[in-house]
């Protein structure tokens, strides 16, 4: 089980703030490929400047995943 969250423009584009996936993925990049394969609005996750986090820490798409992880996808941050 992997918990996925979406924020800001991605959350709006997907009409979804999060979901649970009952599947295993070797990395965050593989999880992203799985989501992109849904097509349509999910294309938003193909953006080159997409950011992601694993267990609330920024990471790259190469980051390995294990069962129980909480991951998040979001656009470039714009605070400050």
């Amino acid at each position: 089980m992997i918990r996925v969250q979406y924020f800001a423009r991605y959350r709006e584009a997907l009409g979804l703030d999060g979901e649970q996936l009952n599947a295993e993925f070797a990395s965050l990049g593989q999880l992203r490929q799985h989501l992109l394969a849904r097509g349509g609005v999910w294309d938003v996750l193909a953006e080159p400047n997409l950011m992601c986090a694993r267990n609330q820490e920024l990471c790259s798409l190469d980051e390995p995943l294990t069962v129980g992880d909480e991951v998040a996808f979001f656009p470039t941050v714009t605070g400050g």
Binding site: F7, A53, Q56, P75, T76, T78, G79
Partner: protein, 151 residues
């Protein structure tokens, strides 16, 4: 070290004056205040909404403050960031850095803002006459943060 992510408005003057009171060894305080502007990228801005990632936001800011404290000899760091609805003219962010001498405080404050801008999970959505608009990240912010990378 103090990190606050809050819906409520704050007074930067009060926060600034409170910083050095805790330690009379502090000889220098450098602060940064970021405000909501009424104009951005050719559009009038009537206000904005700041979304964040509760939990990760506080962790990310704490990590940035810790890294600053490792790199410079600091005597205190305070970061305050608003979330929710804000009006033009309101402070969004306050960073106050205390040290014995000015150089460390100037550099650490600059560092904290550059990292906050590129690593803390906040997103601005502006209210414009054409409707709400998500603010896009700037490559100049990435370039500014890259200056601090240790080689």
């Amino acid at each position: 070290m103090s990190i606050r992510v809050q819906l409520q408005a704050f007074d930067p003057g009060v926060e600034l004056n409170g910083l050095h009171a805790t330690n009379l060894g502090i000889g220098a305080v450098v602060s940064f205040v970021g405000y909501v502007r009424d104009f951005n990228e050719g559009r009038d801005v009537g206000g904005m909404f700041l979304e964040h990632f509760p939990g990760m936001t506080e962790k990310a800011l704490g990590k940035i403050a810790e890294e600053a404290a490792q790199r410079w000899p600091l005597l205190g760091i305070q970061i305050i960031h608003r979330v929710g609805h804000l009006q033009p003219g309101e402070p969004i962010v306050f960073v106050g850095v205390c040290s014995a001498h000015r150089q460390a405080a100037f550099e650490a404050c600059d560092f904290v803002m550059d990292y906050l801008k590129t690593r803390a999970p906040f997103w601005k959505k502006e209210d414009t006459r054409e409707g709400p608009r998500w603010v896009e990240g700037r490559s100049s912010d990435q370039t500014a943060a890259a200056r601090w990378q240790l080689t």
